[in-house]
């Protein structure tokens, strides 16, 4: 009969835990019994039986005694480890401070950025049905441009809702930033920025929190208004606002029917007041020439509303979008051209992945988020490298201690746990400090980034993820030096430490190269971003934007009153010119223009500027060909236009041949207008510098109603007084509208504010990263110097100069920095060249950038290394040789 034997691993397991003197006896018995089992049971049952029996031996009588000493109290050594750890920290103050502060600063920066990124990613997530909500928007492709707008024409909703069963609910939001919704209650009369028109279904799609009122009926009466808590406090104080009446635009009386909690900051659409869209419809009914205007039948795409739909769960968006083109075909592409298409965009994509015209709010930017995230990770990496380098540098100095401990009978696990305990002390100290720093700096960070983040109790688990991450990294990093220390023999530790240290230093030099490569990249990045923003800031726009005042609400000024205002203001010596129209700023109007060539008409989308008399002197734009508008001789001034040189290029004409050409202007369903080109103006960047110069036409409008008044001043010496006088003139004419104004140059600069803030944030964090790397290098250098104190002393005695000693210590660090720069330069060039591709006007990445970056990182390194090495080199050898 052959021997059956149970699975090997079971026997191995038994032998692993069982006392040696018992092993054979018990195993023999069990094997005999196992044979019996196999004879009348299946192999599986027998194995199971065997395993069960093995388990029954897991009792104290049978389990191996480990080692000679029995640890009755594991905490004993633990507290001893902590004590030694603290003593070491106190002994090596610089080292500990660098290690802890570096880690703490990095961790707090990472926390802040993580909070920011988390907030950016949380947009609109509070809507419980959000994953089925889409925004419907449109895209217009014309021969020279493609425009994507976040809105749809008013009438699209009805058509879409009727034809698609996929749609569960559909609603619209209407808001016009140039509107001046005046709200009044008792004594208060203010223009509110957050007045949105919407429909009752909005509350079925979005989860805005209600305080009082009925979501189902709150907006069903066109004379109702829903407001947020903040606004209720502003207008009604602590009274109950429900049922109160507010006056809207000096005209309509609205009853408060609902009170909402303030709209969360992380909503891509925010508002203070909700009014029924029906009210707007009634206000607009029949405002046009034919008197038949109804927004529900308005297919004009230039205006439009944000349209949101709640789709049936599981709707295929691509398929749905395909189907929607039917509507576009039927209503928008009437003249047979496939210009328009309707787009479907998931709600959760809007904040980070959408940059269309007419967005509800300035959206975030995925690329910038990636940039911040990358920097956060890099900072963390740099801090961790510091940690690894400094811990191993310190461990190198402790071979003697390790050797002695070994002689005294310390076991491997005890040595490792000593190192781990020390790392743990540093990390927990650093995380605590990091939390404090993050808490203290959060308000500034918020102010800076325009956020209202807070470290709340709910965020703690999220933040502790980072702490845990760093704890793990730190422990892993301390494991390496500690294992190295453990592996040496007691004799090696006590007597010969030199060779061991050499190999460690090579490793840490590689880490330093990696670290400074990152730093070089960041410095190059800062320089490129700075140069690019400088370019945008200082670029000659081609027109004069200074000393220009734009009066808000002046659209409401009647033509006759404008004359009065113009006369009054022109009388002031400080006022150079008063004009009405739109030339430069942040809004851009577009129109479709056609040119008839050889029987067929080419369509162009051009910027439209409405101008008044003398606008080109006012904005200092030169006429390069043809003539200007002439009040006296032009019989029909409205059919004459000026174009800019970019438009001439667009049409394929030289400047000279443009004069006398004819354009036809298409506007919605109205009859087209034929326009004569009488002159060509030089190019200028009237709007954002992110885009190239827009081919534009300049039109004179006789009545010029509906445009804003722009005032050019001679000087801004006594601005306060000047403004008072303008205000006096304004209030004498416009009783119901408050006097509000803005400066053109500020308005234009405000466009770049978001970019500038973000790049400034990136800049600060990059500087932080460099600083942390600097700390690490400083620590490393001081270790290197300390290690060679004696050597330096001997060399000095033998006549070495300070300079040669300095180079002795700092040479290899500086080589590492040079290597890192050589690695970083091409990567940096590639990366930031990519980034610049987004701009219409790009700065050149020249050698100056790299030179500056290289010199800067060398200087940083020199300061870090030089301080300690110079000190060591200049010390009296008597002191250094007395070192031991």
């Amino acid at each position: 009969m052959s021997q059956h034997s149970p699975p090997r691993w079971m026997m191995k397991f038994f032998r692993w835990f069982c006392r040696e003197e018992l092993c054979d006896a018990v195993e023999g018995d069990m094997l005999v019994l196992y044979q019996e089992q196999r004879q009348h049971r299946s192999r599986f049952r027998a194995n199971l039986w065997y395993f069960f029996n093995v388990l029954t031996f897991l009792q104290s009588f049978a389990i191996k005694r480990r080692g000679v000493f029995h640890h009755l109290n594991p905490f004993n050594m633990f507290f001893n480890n902590l004590k030694i750890g603290f003593r070491l920290m106190r002994k090596h103050k610089t080292y500990s401070a660098i290690n802890v502060m570096g880690l703490a600063i990095a961790l707090s920066a990472v926390m802040l950025m993580a909070l920011f990124i988390k907030d950016e990613l949380s947009y609109d997530r509070f809507n419980s049905k959000g994953k089925d909500v889409v925004r419907l928007s449109h895209r217009q492709e014309s021969p020279n441009t493609t425009q994507e707008s976040a809105r749809l024409p008013f009438a699209a909703k009805q058509a879409i809702a009727e034809s698609y069963p996929e749609i569960d609910k559909i609603t619209r939001f209407y808001y016009w930033s140039e509107d001046t919704p005046l709200l009044a209650y008792e004594g208060q009369n203010q223009v509110e920025q957050g007045v949105y028109f919407t429909e009752p279904d909005v509350f079925e799609i979005f989860d805005f929190e209600w305080i009082s009122g009925n979501p189902a009926t709150a907006l069903s009466d066109p004379r109702s208004i829903v407001l947020t808590e903040k606004m209720a406090l502003k207008y009604f104080g602590h009274e109950n606002p429900m049922g109160k009446t507010m006056r809207f635009k000096n005209n309509n009386k609205l009853v408060v029917t609902g009170l909402l909690k303030d709209i969360p900051q992380n909503s891509h659409i925010t508002f203070d007041f909700l009014l029924p869209l029906e009210l707007q419809r009634q206000m607009w009914l029949g405002w046009d020439e034919e008197g038949s205007y109804d927004l529900e039948r308005d297919w004009n795409h230039a205006l439009g509303v944000w349209t949101y739909a709640l789709l049936a769960p599981g709707t295929d968006l691509a398929l749905f979008e395909d189907k929607l083109q039917m509507i576009a075909e039927e209503h928008l592409n009437k003249d047979g051209k496939d210009e328009f298409s309707i787009q479907v965009q998931p709600l959760f994509d809007i904040h980070l992945n959408s940059d269309k015209l007419n967005e509800a709010r300035a959206n975030g930017n995925m690329v910038q988020l990636y940039g911040l995230g990358a920097i956060a990770i890099l900072i963390l990496v740099i801090a961790c490298i510091n940690f690894i380098n400094l811990t191993s540098a310190q461990a190198n100095k402790r071979f003697k201690e390790v050797g002695l401990r070994k002689v005294m009978g310390a076991k491997k696990t005890e040595l490792v746990s000593q190192f781990l305990a020390e790392a743990l002390i540093l990390v927990s100290l650093a995380s605590t400090i990091a939390l404090i720093i993050a808490n203290v700096t959060l308000p500034y960070f918020n102010q800076f980034m325009g956020k209202s983040l807070s470290i709340r109790l709910e965020e703690l688990p999220f933040l502790s993820v980072f702490v845990v991450l760093v704890v793990v990294i730190a422990l892993l990093s301390s494991l390496r030096p500690s294992m190295a220390a453990v592996r040496i023999s007691a004799i090696q530790g006590l007597v010969n430490t030199f060779n061991l240290m050499r190999s460690k230093q090579r490793f840490s030099r590689f880490m330093v190269i990696g670290q400074f490569m990152v730093c070089n990249l960041l410095i190059i990045g800062i320089l490129v971003i700075n140069n690019q923003l400088d370019l945008l800031r200082n670029k000659d726009l081609g027109f004069d934007k200074s000393e220009m005042i734009i009066l808000k609400h002046s659209r409401y000024l009647r033509h006759k009153d404008f004359g009065v205002l113009q006369n009054q203001l022109s009388a002031l010596p400080v006022v150079q010119n008063v004009n009405r129209g739109y030339v430069a700023g942040t809004k851009s109007f577009n129109g479709s223009f056609g040119i008839t060539r050889g029987g067929s008409e080419d369509m162009f989308s051009l910027g439209v500027k409405w101008v008044g008399e003398g606008f080109n002197e006012m904005f200092d734009i030169q006429l390069i060909e043809g003539r200007n508008f002439d009040e006296s001789s032009d019989t029909n001034i409205e059919s004459a236009i000026l174009i800019n040189a970019a438009a001439a290029r667009e049409f394929g004409w030289s400047v000279e041949e443009s004069i006398g050409q004819k354009l036809s202007y298409h506007r919605g369903s109205r009859p087209e207008v034929v326009l004569n080109i009488i002159g060509v103006l030089e190019d200028a960047n009237f709007e954002s510098l992110y885009d190239p110069i827009v081919p534009s036409v300049f039109r004179r409008n006789k009545s010029s109603v509906g445009n804003e008044v722009v005032i050019k001043l001679n000087n801004t010496n006594d601005l306060h007084n000047t403004l008072n006088k303008i205000e006096a003139a304004w209030t004498s004419i416009m009783l119901n509208w408050p006097f509000e104004f803005s400066f053109l140059d500020e308005q234009i600069e405000a466009q770049y504010a978001k970019e500038e803030k973000l790049s400034a944030a990136i800049k600060y964090f990059a500087i932080l990263a460099v600083f942390i790397a600097f700390l690490g290098l400083f620590g490393l250098a001081s270790f290197a110097v300390q290690e060679r104190t004696k050597e330096i002393g001997v060399r000095k005695v033998l006549g070495a100069s300070t300079a040669s000693l300095f180079s002795l210590v700092s040479k290899r660090f500086l080589w590492a920095i040079t290597a890192s720069f050589l690695l970083a330069a091409p990567i940096g060039y590639y990366l930031f060249d990519q980034w610049l591709q987004d701009f219409a006007y790009q700065v050149q990445i020249g050698p100056a950038v790299f030179l500056t970056a290289g010199i800067m990182s060398l200087v940083v390194a020199l300061i870090a290394v030089g301080f300690k090495s110079l000190k060591a080199a200049s010390r009296n050898p008597v002191n250094t040789l007395r070192y031991e």
Partner: protein, 112 residues
Amino acid sequence: MKTNYLGEFEELVLLTVAIVHDSAHGLTVKAEIEKQAGRNPLLSSVHKSLIRLEDKGYLKSYMGEATAERGGRQKRLYELTVDGKKVLNASRELRNSMWSSAPKVVWEGGKI
């Protein structure tokens, strides 16, 4: 002197070692207990008791032969020490004297 306390199972094992005499090791003790007492103790309990009893000085052990059946593992054979015999005797005498102290009527039933 410490009290020579024996657990019930320990006493059983000690007696069994006396019964199987020359070849007392885990397996034979377990088999004998099965035969005599009709219970089926775990191998681990038998070994545990053997070790306890050895620690208490009632048993001593030496390594026996290794057979193919045992996969080449040696047996650990146990035999009673003088103390072991004493403690068994003592426990038996204690019982006997206690048995005799109990009035007959308890065993025979009947009326008082």
